[in-house]
């Protein structure tokens, strides 16, 4: 009894997407969401060896900043949790040390954004360090969290039921998310989230469409949205398989 799912993209970019999934139970939708936030492993710097740091910030503060820089995640299977990659940085002032100044020992793991300032260096100040990036899950620290602002909302169906009373005041009717109007998907941002803009002078009824969820997914640049979603699904599936195998014994 394989369930029938239907996925439709409303908005699609490399790092940001909105898509509608029909036929999912709330429990399953939430499982996917939670897996995206906490269970998809990403690379992040988690140990730094300072060779020289004469900047105005302490070693620990700089190490924290380095940890939060998103690194590209190698394709599945190349790395497992616990593997490390070394990145080196050597910048001398005056000038700013950027995430793009990191030199990685592995082409697959490098800063996803090159323009993040790490520390402003004054005349004669220098930052030289070696950093180890490790693969881990969002559950252990936020720096390993690949999904940013991941969430979902019910798809809402809007129906025009008649005309608004002649003497009734026009009040804004705010809805956020994506609405379905006669089978057509419309993001509410198209009409400023106000139904009275789209249906002037009409009386409308809105209801949640059962088991239809609009996911909003953004990534920090570690991987594409597609990658994040499929890896989250994989992580759930792998656990189901593990349980199945364990019970069979």
């Amino acid at each position: 009894m394989a369930p029938a799912y239907d996925v439709e993209f409303v908005e699609r970019e490399e790092r940001k997407a909105r898509f509608l999934v029909r036929g999912v139970t709330p429990a399953f939708a939430n499982g996917i969401r939670r897996a995206m936030v906490a269970d998809v492993p990403t690379m992040a710097i988690d140990e730094v060896r300072f060779i020289e740091n004469s900047s105005v910030m302490f070693d620990e503060q700089i190490a924290l900043r380095m940890g939060l820089i998103p690194l590209t995640t190698p394709p599945e299977g190349e790395f497992v949790e616990g593997d490390t990659v070394t990145l080196a940085i050597d910048v001398e002032g005056p000038g700013t040390a950027y995430s793009g100044d990191f030199v990685s020992s592995d082409e697959l793991v490098k800063p996803a954004d090159l323009n993040v300032p790490i520390i402003d260096l004054k005349d004669g100040q220098r930052l030289e360090a070696e950093a180890d990036a490790a693969m881990d899950r969002g559950k252990s620290h936020a720096r390993h969290q690949g999904g940013v602002a991941v969430g979902y909302r019910h798809l809402q169906r809007v129906e025009v039921v008649g005309d608004r009373d002649q003497f009734e005041d026009e009040e804004p009717h705010i809805v956020r998310g994506v609405i379905e109007d006669d089978g057509e998907l419309v993001p509410t941002s198209e009409f400023d989230h106000d139904l009275t803009v789209r249906y002037p002078g009409k009386e409308v009824r809105i209801e949640d469409v059962p088991n239809a969820f609009v996911f909003h997914v953004e990534t920090d640049g570690s991987f594409s949205v597609e990658e994040l979603v499929t890896r989250a699904i994989d992580s759930l599936e792998q656990r189901a398989r593990e349980l199945e195998d364990a019970v069979q014994l």
Binding site: M1, A2, P3, A4, Y5, D6, V7, E8, F9, F19, V21, V24, T25, P26, A27, F28, N30, G31, I32, R34, A35, A38, D39, K139, E226, V229, T230, I233, D234, L236, E237, R239, A240, R241, E242, L243, E244, A246, V247, Q248
Partner: protein, 93 residues
């Protein structure tokens, strides 16, 4: 994933599932409840700060003549079917 049976009878099973959290347990519970031969399924889990039992304990009750362990296996299979169906639908979109 470490499993430890805490209580077991003909139609009822309590099992501790080590290392899992709400992410998987709620999906599994939802899948179990979709089966007609499962009369009740729930899980109990304490927050990390509580200091006691923190791994989730899943309890499954089945109708007469059905082994709860088999029902659990079928539940896990349902989750697997759901994930592969969703992956297919997602990759098709």
């Amino acid at each position: 994933m470490e499993l430890r049976v805490t209580e077991s009878s003909e139609n009822e099973l309590s099992i501790e599932i080590g290392g899992e959290d709400h992410t998987f347990m709620n999906v599994l519970k939802g899948a179990l409840l979709e089966h007609d031969d499962v009369s009740a399924a729930t899980y109990d889990m304490n927050p990390e700060q509580s200091g006691g039992q923190t791994d989730p304990i899943l309890t499954v009750k089945t109708i007469d003549g059905v082994d709860p362990l088999d029902a659990l296996e079928a539940g896990a299979a349902t989750v697997r079917e759901k994930t592969s169906a969703l992956r297919e639908a997602f990759e098709a979109a």
